[in-house]
Symmetry: C2
Subunit: 351 residues, 2 copies
C-alpha cells in the first residue's frame, strides 16, 4: 500500500469507527447494563470484562457482547440482580452460588476468598455454581496471576462436540485457561477451547455462507464436512488433538461439572431447552501460591520459568496471548476504535 | 486361520513364552531389584508398578523395565536406598523429597498424606522432588481413585519436544494423567504424553531401522521428517494438538517444575549430562475429594458422570484405558506370558 493509500484507508477507518477511551467503554457498558435492569454490582463486573475484551482486541468479547447480554437479560432465565452467595465448603474450597446470574460478579466475589485460601493452604479451589457464562476465562486467571498466584480455570459448555471416534455432540467446547505470574506484570497465560475451533467461528461462517476448513466439524453421519450448517444441524464439532484432546475435554466435564455438583455439557444443553442462551453451568478455578510450594528459592524458581519462556521465544515460537498484550498497550495509549454501526446499535439499547 | 493353524500358533507361543502368575512377576521383580542393591521398600514399590504394567499388557512398562532399572542402578546417579523424606509444606501441600531415588516409593509414601489432606481440605497437592521417574503415571492416579479421590498427575521429562512454531527441543514429553472414581471399581482414567508420539516409540523405530509417520518429529531445520535418527540427532519431537498442546505442555513444565522448586525439562536434560538415564525431576499430583466439593447430592453427581460416559460409549467412541482393563482381567485369571528371551535376560540379572 502506498502512503497515500494508507492515509486514505486510515481516514476511511476514522469515519467508520468511533474512538473511545477505556473509561468511556466501561461507562458505556455500565449504562447499557443498568438500563436493562442489572444491579450496579453486576453491571460494573460485567462491564469490566467487556472492557478488557475490547481493550485486548478480542472483538467478540468486547462491546459487541452488550447486544447479546441485553437480549439474554430480556429473556428472563438469567438474573441480572442475583447476589452471589459464598459458602466455605471446605478449608481449601470456597463455593459461590451465582443464583443464575452472570459469571463476572460471582468470580470477583469468589476470587477474594480463593486467593486467601490459596495463601493459607498452598492451593485452593473456587467452585462457581448455577452461573450463566459468557466471558472468556483469561480475565479470571489473569486477575489471580496479578495477585502472584498460578491459576487454572475450567468450564463445560454445551454438548456440541463429538468425542474422538464418535459422531454426536457430547462434550462442550470446554475451555481451559491457565496463568503463571511473571516479573514485570504480564503473566504467561493461555485460554483455549478443547474443540478444534470456537463455536462462534462456526456460527460466523454459517451466517456469512462460507465453508469451514476440514477438521472443524462432522455431519450427522460422522463424516468430515466443510458446510457449517451440517455441523450445527445434526452434526458435531471436533475436539482438538484427537483422543488426547477428547480425554482432556472429558476431564474438564468431570472436574467443572459433577465434582462441584453442577451440570455437564449434556445437562447444560438440556437445561437450555432450545433457548439458544448463554450456557448455564458451573466453573472450577484452582489457584496455587508459589510461595507455599517451592523449596525456598523463589527467585531461582522464577528464573527457571523465565529460561523456559526465553527458550521458546528465542527459536521463533510465540508465547500465547502476545497479540492481546500488544493490543492492550495500544488501547491504553490511544483508546479503542469501535465500528460506527456497532456503536449505533449499542446506543439503541439505551432507548 | 484354521483351527489346526491356531492350535499350532498357540503351541508356538507357549514354547516362546513363559507363563507367570502376577505373584510370580512381583516376586521375580523384587528379587532382581534386591540383587541390584535396592532396599526392600524400594524393591517392593518398584515391583508393584512393574507388575501392574505387565498385568495391563503395557509391555514397555512391565518386566522389561527390570533391564533398564538394573542398568540405571549400576550407574550410581540414582539411589536404590534413599528413604523418602516427607515435609508438610502447607496445610494443603505435602512434599516428598525422593533423595534421587525412584518415584514409586516416594509416591506411595506421599499418597497417604495426600489422601488425608484432600479429605480435610477438599483438595490437596503432593509435590515430589529429586526423583528418578520411570513408570507411567496411571498407577498413581488409579491408586488415588481407589481411595475415592479424583486425581491429576503431571511431570516434565527431557527437553526433546519443540513448541508449536519452533524447531528445537524445549518441552518434555510431559505426561498428564487423570482418574475419576467410578462405581464398580475401575475408574475413568487416562495418561497421555503431550508429544505426538512417545519417546520410546521413536527409539523403537530407530533401532528397527523403520520410518516414523509424518507428524511425529522434525529435523534440525524444523522440517517434518520420517527418519527417526534425524529427530533424535539435532531434531525434535512434535507436540500433540498444535499450539494448544504446546500451551498445555508448557503449563505442565511450570506446575511440575518451578512451582514445586524443581527442574524443567531443559534443566532435567542438562542434569542428565548425556548419561541417557531415566529423567530426574519433580512431579505434581493433585487430589480432589468429591465428598467435599458437591452440593450434597453425591449420588446425583456420580450419576451425571456415568451418563456422560454412557453417551460417549453408546456412539461407538471408546473411553481411555479399556484395553488395559481388558488385559488386566485376563492376567488376573490366567497370569501373563513373558517372551522366553526376555525372561532369560531377566534371570541373567540375578547372576
Amino acid at each position: 500500500m502506498t502512503e497515500a493509500a494508507a492515509a486514505a484507508s486510515t481516514a476511511q477507518a476514522d469515519t467508520d469507527t468511533v474512538r473511545l477511551t477505556l473509561d468511556e467503554v466501561q461507562a458505556l457498558a455500565e449504562r447499557v447494563l443498568l438500563h436493562h435492569g442489572m444491579s450496579l454490582r453486576h453491571a460494573q463486573a460485567v462491564a469490566r470484562v467487556i472492557t478488557a475484551g475490547e481493550r485486548d482486541a478480542c472483538v467478540s468479547h468486547g462491546v459487541y457482547r452488550l447486544l447479546v447480554v441485553a437480549q439474554t437479560l430480556g429473556r428472563g432465565r438469567v438474573s441480572g440482580v442475583a447476589e452471589p452467595v459464598v459458602t466455605d465448603r471446605a478449608p481449601g474450597v470456597v463455593a459461590v452460588d451465582a443464583g443464575f446470574g452472570f459469571s463476572p460478579l460471582a468470580f470477583e466475589v469468589g476470587a477474594e476468598h480463593l486467593a486467601r485460601k490459596a495463601g493459607q493452604n498452598g492451593l485452593a479451589a473456587l467452585a462457581i455454581n448455577h452461573c450463566f457464562h459468557f466471558s472468556a476465562l483469561w480475565p479470571e486467571v489473569e486477575a489471580l496471576a496479578a495477585r502472584g498466584l498460578a491459576a487454572v480455570a475450567l468450564t463445560p459448555s454445551h454438548a456440541w462436540v463429538a468425542p474422538a471416534g464418535g459422531i454426536r455432540g457430547v462434550l462442550g467446547t470446554n475451555p481451559l485457561a491457565f496463568a503463571w505470574p511473571r516479573p514485570g506484570g504480564l503473566p504467561y497465560v493461555f485460554d483455549f477451547a478443547t474443540s478444534t475451533a470456537a463455536r462462534g467461528e462456526i456460527e460466523l461462517h454459517r451466517r456469512a455462507g462460507r465453508e469451514i476448513p476440514l477438521g472443524w466439524g462432522i455431519d450427522d453421519t460422522g463424516a468430515d464436512t466443510t458446510d457449517p450448517r451440517r455441523v450445527v444441524q445434526g452434526g458435531a464439532m471436533r475436539v482438538f488433538g484427537g483422543h488426547k484432546g477428547s480425554a482432556l475435554s472429558t476431564m474438564i466435564e468431570l472436574l467443572a461439572g459433577p465434582l462441584i455438583g453442577d451440570l455437564t455439557s449434556l445437562d447444560s444443553l438440556a437445561f437450555d431447552n432450545g433457548d439458544g442462551s448463554t450456557p448455564c453451568h458451573g466453573e472450577l478455578v484452582i489457584a496455587f501460591d508459589p510461595k507455599r510450594f517451592g523449596l525456598g528459592d523463589a527467585a531461582g524458581d522464577a528464573a527457571r520459568a523465565e529460561r523456559l519462556f526465553a527458550a521458546i521465544e528465542s527459536q521463533g515460537a510465540r508465547l500465547p496471548s502476545q497479540r492481546r498484550f500488544a493490543a492492550r498497550a495500544v488501547s491504553r495509549a490511544q483508546g479503542v476504535a469501535v465500528a460506527r454501526s456497532l456503536y449505533t446499535d449499542i446506543l439503541a439499547l439505551l432507548r
